[in-house]
């Protein structure tokens, strides 16, 4: 009897607890919703007066892509998150980020490190860390940028506006377009005007065909004006499609760009693929038109990443 009473009491209290927690949930939900809304409203307003943040402002960047866009504008953040995969600053920009505080990975930033670097303003990716705007606002004003919307050009312009470097952004973009034109000509000269290409990525666990979406699609098929191999144009929902090695011939590509993920396993997988008769009989392989890319640059969907990818392509096609 005593036990029953205990149990009943317990059940009641736990239920109440659960309900109140749920109540809190909805509260906090609406709160954070409200916050998100207000930051969306608030975000454009500082950009109306870009002088507010002079180019010497100490910027904390909570997105590796924002960091890289800042670098393209010739600015160095005071601190930045690191790449989740490499557990460090991305290798191709590491030398430019010397002395910059590391905040840990974007999915789980070290708030104390952010605070310790005493930023004047915090730039974050709406998609990645948008939920935590309120937390960051306690440290410094927050500029929230939706990095899923628009192209890297838009992101660069948006950030440039914020730091008053619009001219630099336009110079960068113009320079990029010119370079893309030039590189495109270079590649077409080598491969022929009608060549169809595909980009594959070998990871530790699978073989992927990069599709039309970012990070690789836009630079390859728009900026460099290459023609997608048969079937690549259908990969539009996801950045890539996982395929089996046997279907590689179906793409009938004239040239294949290869990205090999970091780590020994991915490398070993690719070595294995190279010894596979399916691979050896591919048109592109027979014609010696396989190009191994410096993957990090191509996978980095940011202004500086793309500019470096063009340089990589130029190097590959300059004899």
């Amino acid at each position: 009897m005593k036990l029953k009473k205990w149990l009943f009491l317990l059940a009641v209290v736990l239920l109440v607890g659960l309900l109140s927690a749920c109540g809190e949930v909805t509260n906090s939900g609406t709160n954070s919703g409200g916050n998100a809304g207000s930051t969306e409203e608030a975000a454009p307003s500082p950009s109306l007066e870009p002088a507010k943040q002079d180019s010497n402002a100490k910027i904390a960047s909570l997105s590796i892509h924002i960091t890289n866009n800042l670098l393209a504008l010739g600015m160095k953040p005071i601190g930045s998150v690191i790449g989740g995969d490499v557990k460090d600053f991305l290798p191709h920009v590491k030398d430019r980020l010397e002395g910059v505080a590391k905040y840990g990975v974007a999915a789980d930033p070290d708030m104390e490190a952010v605070l310790a670097s005493k930023p004047d303003v915090i730039y974050l990716d709406e998609v990645l860390t948008g939920d935590d705007v309120a937390k960051f606002e306690k440290i410094a004003p927050v500029v929230s940028i939706d990095m899923d919307e628009g192209t890297w050009r838009d992101h660069l312009r948006r950030i440039a506006e914020q730091v008053g470097k619009q001219a630099e952004a336009e110079t960068f973009i113009t320079g990029y377009e010119a370079k893309a034109e030039q590189t495109s000509a270079l590649i077409h000269e080598e491969l022929g005007a009608e060549a169809k290409v595909m980009a594959i990525r070998m990871t530790a666990k699978e073989l992927r065909v990069m599709g039309m979406k970012r990070p690789v699609g836009p630079i390859m098929f728009e900026d460099l004006k290459l023609k997608p191999a048969n079937g690549v144009e259908k990969i539009t929902d996801e950045p890539y499609a996982v395929i089996s090695q046997e279907v590689l011939p179906d793409f009938d590509a004239d040239a294949i760009f290869v990205i090999i993920s970091k780590g020994n396993e991915a490398k070993a997988n690719f070595d294995e693929l190279e010894n596979n008769p399916v691979w050896q009989n591919l048109k592109a392989v027979k014609n010696n038109r396989v190009y191994v890319l410096d993957g990090q640059k191509w996978l980095d969907y940011s202004s500086i990443g793309h500019a470096m990818a063009l340089e990589d392509a130029e190097k590959l096609f300059t004899r």
Binding site: L10, S28, D108
Partner: protein, 339 residues
Amino acid sequence: MESLEKSRARRAVAASLCLLLAAVGVVVFALNTGSIRLSPLNVLSTLLGNGTEEQELILFEYRLPRIIITALAGIGLGVAGAVLQGVSRNSLADPGILGLNAGAAFGLIVFVSFFRSMEGPTALLIPMFTFAGGVLTAIFIFLLSYDRNRGISPIRLILVGIAIEAGIGAVTLFLSLRLDEDIYSFASRWLAGSVWGREWIHVGSLFPWIALLAPFIYSQSKKLDVFALGDELAAGIGSRVTRNRIVLLASAVALSCASVAMAGGIGFIGLVAPHIARRLAGPQHRYFLPIAGIVGLLVLVTADTIGRSVFQPVAIPAGVVVALVGGPYFLYLLFKIKF
């Protein structure tokens, strides 16, 4: 008899006090640890309300919630482990054996695989899914190991638990192989026992479970002791074995699921803490249960503090540290004291 009882009680009280002191020490140390150095004096003055705005932010927003969650989860896992070992009369039982960690992991993977775009407060969706995963698994295991005539037999419970855990683990692994890198790395950190809850709302949703269930289980200490006699003898002296077992199992499940949901997939504490506690305070539950809780707290807070401070900037999940430090220590215990 009287004097044995007394000396046991005295030992238990002494051990509890020492451990409590150690726990306070660890918590203070944890409060002092982080990317920003705060001297113990600063911490104290901030706790008393005299800190600068920045110090308050660090202490109350970043460090305190996480430490409280770690402490509560440590208590929960320690006590739950003690109950499971008592109820199943098996010193190898721990929450992992009831498939709870596997179930929680399954809940997490289901969430990131299929419901990531679900609208709602992200901060609480994950605990909800992991909690549901753990509880459902436990219910499933209970049902399969229930026998109409004999109730839940301990050995059957453990075997069914192991089988279910393996099955669920396989599905979890299959689903996690399909995740892309970023999400997988988040999921794997969770699975490795990275203290996940960081906010006051998580503290708020974990606290009631611990605050209610731990005392409730303590109030049932005598019943736990009786299990040690074996089912038949226990029934013979008037214990309602099956019913008590179900009630206690259910509380242990709730306790550990709540802890795991807030703190991540942390194993091993539920196994080690009761053993250490029994060494310190003897086999009677009313003495060693509280100690198991404090040991759990001590181990988990220490592990999390080490994990987040030693290997900057990439923090090591507390669960990994627990296994790394706890494993050898457990072996040492086993060798030192012959079973």
